[in-house]
Amino acid sequence: MDSVALRRLGFRLLWIALGVAFAFLVQWVALSSGQFNSNGQRLFFLAGLYVTLAVSLNLINGITGQFSMGHAAFYQVGAYTTGVLAAKFYSDGAGLASKYPLPWLIGMMFAGGLVAALAGFIVGLPSLRLKGDYLAIVTLGFGEIIRIIVQNQKSLGGSYGMDVKPKIDFIWLSTLLAIATIAISRNLLKNVHGLAFLAVREDEVASSAMGVRVTRIKIAAFLLGSALAGAAGALLAHHETFISKDTFPMDLSFIIVTMVVLGGTGSITGSTLAAITLYLIPERMRDLKDVPVSYAALGVIMLIVTVAFVRRTMEKDFSKLRTVKLVAPWFVSIVVVAVGGAALKNVGPLSKVIDGQQLRFVIFALTLITLMLLRPQGIFAHHEFSLQWLKKVLARFTKRSGEVAS
């Protein structure tokens, strides 16, 4: 082995070690922060799964450009595969699953991934003939069909659901899966193969004329994306110990798509950050207690006003104050809502309270709409977050304000 190859190997090992170390760090943080609160631990666990889902969908949607809206179905297939296998091999705490939890779980990730990939293959077939909206609809339909079939199978617990025993709960494994998904996507894009995937997204006709095997690439993207989602499903099944139709609602697919689009289609870092953010927004608000109507009403009003103002500034105002005008309204609104809400808290009908649990999805939806209205190309657009990119953005930013000043 020559020295270059050795160094390459060294770097590779270092990265893997860092990834594993990070995964355990996450587990440590989760366990210590959520010592008396299993919900806190669940948060870290699920965050890993959501990142996996979003980044794996980004492979299909963002990188290969095949607009798929049925991603939750693969997640579900992975979970139910695990459920069926666990039921077979569990046998009252004496089976394989309880004797060797870690190898079992890793095995399940592969099994779930494999079956999900099979589903992905079937769902991917229409992508050979359909594009854009139509493909989106068909994938959505496939996802629903899988969901309905599962919930009508007696052997899968029907609409009641099924138990998955035992509870195997490795937070680090979920983090590691997310890291692996990110690494795989990044490796793909680093090499020329990734360019072929991007080429299919950009122009299929030109790609096939350049000899790119469009069909193979589309199928490969679906296989890969669905397998990773299936592996996430396997982890979920053993963590939750009970899966049912309500574990995988129709909205879930929408939410995953939203994560990808919001992060910036094709951007791995974007998908990752958007997944964490969009997952945490409703989750963190589980603690939200009763909110007086005065706050909620003022919040909605100020949000509309602020979005309108900021959009106007983005389109028309290039003066020196542009930055201020983009940022300040948010702070002003927060202050107005805080002060006004407190002041009006006891006034007539405004004093009623809203259940925080109901409010959190409303806030989720509002966040979604607001972000889309203000940054439709997604947070990162096509870019990846890197120091270079940050420098470029900052340089452009300072240059622009400098130009205006002179």
Partner: protein, 258 residues
């Protein structure tokens, strides 16, 4: 020997016969012009040769192999691999990829490493990527775009986009290069440069070139043989000066009354 030959190739769309019993053959190393008025069926011919359309009759032979016959075609991907590559009349670059990345996609069809090695970033995939990048840079140099290698192709000026398309097609290492109106929208200086580029491609890389072009000065100055289509039918074939003098060609371009 002939590299490509069409034998009574016909394409019919419903009632419209776009290409009617066209036969011609190209010799290795020629720069070949395909001309004719708008709607004569030139681009359809290209789509037929590159496998985007299937012929409804006749056959196409390339390098001794039949690549298309009535109702059947090897398909664009295989045809590209056999050694025919093209540019498009309306530029079809990968807009959000950089110039060098566009060219690298062209080179991808001869890749040796599998998807697996790319997903795990194995050395052989990384090496191949570097190789393709280097080969791509050489091609960008050949068309004079090496200084904008990292610019998004969407942001390049029109003339550069046309040249980038040629570079991308060349990256597939074709034996036959099809250029669909390569000089469209260029100013006279750019056209002169392009003529040089095409000539040097042929000389340096030994490619055979078939091009569609409306600019007669460009065609006459560059092509060694010219084939004229009108209403899907062959009306003339020969050296530039023969074609220029052919009364049928003049009639097709200027109308019968002339």
């Amino acid at each position: 020997m002939s590299l490509l030959s069409l034998d009574k190739a016909t394409i019919q769309f419903g009632g419209l016969i776009a290409v009617n019993q066209v036969s011609f053959s190209l010799d290795k190393g020629d720069i070949f012009g395909l001309i004719g008025p708008n709607g004569a069926g030139k681009t359809t011919c290209f789509n037929l040769i590159t496998g985007i359309y299937e012929p409804t009759g006749g056959s196409v032979t390339f390098d001794g192999k039949v690549i298309a016959k009535a109702g059947k075609s090897a398909g664009p991907e295989s045809i590209a691999k056999m050694g025919i590559c093209r540019t498009f009349q309306n530029i079809r670059l990968y807009g959000s990829l950089s110039a060098i990345e566009n060219v690298m996609v062209g080179g991808f069809l001869r890749h040796r490493t599998g998807l697996f090695s790319a997903l795990f970033d194995l050395k052989r995939a990384a090496d191949e990527t570097v190789e393709l990048r280097e080969a791509g840079m050489k091609l960008l140099q050949a068309v004079g775009l090496d200084d904008v290698a990292d610019v998004r192709s969407r942001d390049l000026p029109y003339g550069s986009q046309r040249r980038l398309e040629i570079a991308r097609a060349m990256a597939t290492q074709p034996k036959l290069l099809l250029l669909d109106e390569p000089a469209a929208g260029m100013n006279p200086q750019e056209k002169m440069d392009l003529m040089e580029v095409v000539r040097s491609i042929r000389d340096q890389f030994g490619m055979t070139v078939l091009l569609i072009e409306h600019d007669m000065r460009f065609v006459m100055g560059l092509c060694e043989k010219i084939f004229v289509l009108d209403h899907g039918e062959e009306i003339a074939f020969g050296l530039p000066e023969e074609v220029r003098a052919n009364p049928k060609v003049i009639a097709a371009y200027l109308g019968e009354a002339h």
